[in-house]
Amino acid sequence: MGKTEQKMIANGKRLDGRGPLDLREIEMKVGVIPNANGSSYVRFGKTAVIAGVYGPRPLFPRFLRESDTGILKVRYNMIPFSVDDRKRPGPSRRETEISKVIRMAFEGNLFLKNYPQTGVNLYLEVIEADGSTRVTSINAASLALADAGVPMRDFVVGLSGGKIDGTLILDLNGLEDNNSDADMPMAVLPTKKEVTLLQMDGRMNPEELKDLIKHVIDASGAIYEKQAEALRKKYIE
């Protein structure tokens, strides 16, 4: 899915029929990997991610246990057939960077100091990629950590904003991502309205950039509700 000459917004509607600030269909499910301590499945449109959490558990090998804080490890991975051209197994530079920024989006939100000598391993498997994979992963991570019973100060919501054909939009799909003027994945603590991940690529005036940040933060509440609902559903069942 490369660049296209097509107009991306016509009559106020995006190519898939959404309004600029509309999100795609969202599906969230908890407890999908029986072996994991916590797990989830999150889908935004065709972008689908499975998250699994193992831990907290004692660190191994032992010499790692000198650390006076718990350790969060994050692996963001795209499976080979999740994208148009097969992705080779093994972490790419892009995946290594995304694993790091996702770790940063959660590290301050967990009480890792309370778990010295233990590790929490968070695995994010992108099953299908149609834009906004890292923010979809963040939602999956938030649910899987909650499902595993890892204490968090707040949920973490992921959502991307962008600018396309001069219009600010939310939740970019793959085609939009490739044709946008700007693309901005964010992670938001929905209660405190604080930001733990923010990346931006593109060209924006400071004012529209600030507007876009505001749009993303405002929309995070609705996603937070869906996370809470997915968790409730599991524990009712």
Partner: protein
């Protein structure tokens, strides 16, 4: 202790989850769950959960088969699937799984590789068959082979425009003329079981993974585990596998729909 309990049950031909010795857990097949793949399948056998996909790209043919496309099979035992799996390049178990799946597919000659030639000796379609383990609860090879078969049966060939691959159009389906499955038969003393859970695999540690084609021919065998087998036991295991394969072939219908 758990091991002893499994063995005690076995004396009465019983299993932990109440199954008969030759009974599979429920099998659930999802066809083309990943639309970016040329074809894909998700297969659950009990709590075992695997996802298999095909991708087609340009490749060069092997020198001794200049008119044939190529297929390669890889597997990842991702750490999400089990606390025993680690990140990193595939270990010997993942490599063995990928190769045993590959062998059943390849030796069954189910795929018309000649039809995948673009320019003889230079450019052919190269199929990548990737197996991803999402949750490991035993019997991975049987699950992966079913998934590979369903993914192949449901793969579409991307269109070529000006020598470029256009992935959202298709020039037809992958030509698959027969089907193959692997049936893994596990042995402990004089007992054979099918579809072991992960717990059972630790007890029944000698097994034969037998690839069968839908005409009843055996296309591949892999003896696994440290034990030894008498000839008569091997013969029994082959017969068990051929018999059970018929049930599995019903699941792997040409349209790939789950009908169990």
């Amino acid at each position: 202790m758990r091991k002893n309990y499994i063995l005690d049950l076995l004396k009465n031909d019983e299993r932990l989850d109440g199954r008969k010795l030759d009974e599979y857990r429920e099998i659930e097949i999802e066809v083309n769950p990943v639309s970016k793949a040329e074809g894909s399948a998700r297969v659950r056998i009990g709590k075992t959960d695997v996802i298999i996909g095909t991708k087609m790209d340009f490749g060069t043919p092997f020198p001794d088969t200049p008119n044939e496309g190529t297929i390669k099979s890889e597997a990842e035992f991702m750490p999400i699937a089990s606390e025993d799996f680690e990140s990193g390049p595939p270990g010997e178990d993942a490599i063995e799984l990928a190769r045993v799946v590959d062998r059943a597919i390849r030796e069954s000659q189910c795929l018309d590789l000649k039809s995948l030639c673009i320019t003889p000796g230079e450019k052919v379609w190269s199929i990548s068959l990737d197996t991803i383990i999402l949750n490991h609860d035993g019997n991975l090879i049987d699950a992966a082979t079913i998934g590979a078969m369903v993914a192949l049966l449901n793969s579409k060939i991307p269109e070529l425009e000006d020598d470029k691959i256009v992935r959202d159009k298709h020039s037809g389906k992958l030509p698959v003329s027969s089907k193959a499955v692997n049936v893994t038969v596990c042995k402990f003393e004089d007992k054979f079981i099918l579809d072991p859970t992960r717990e059972e695999e630790e007890v029944f540690d000698t097994k034969m993974c037998i690839g069968v084609r839908d005409d009843g021919k055996v296309v591949s065998i892999q003896k696994m585990g440290p034990g030894s087998l008498k000839d008569s036991e091997i013969y029994d295991m082959i017969d068990i596998a051929i018999k059970k394969s018929k049930n599995l072939f019903k699941l792997v219908g040409k349209d790939g729909k789950k009908d169990i």
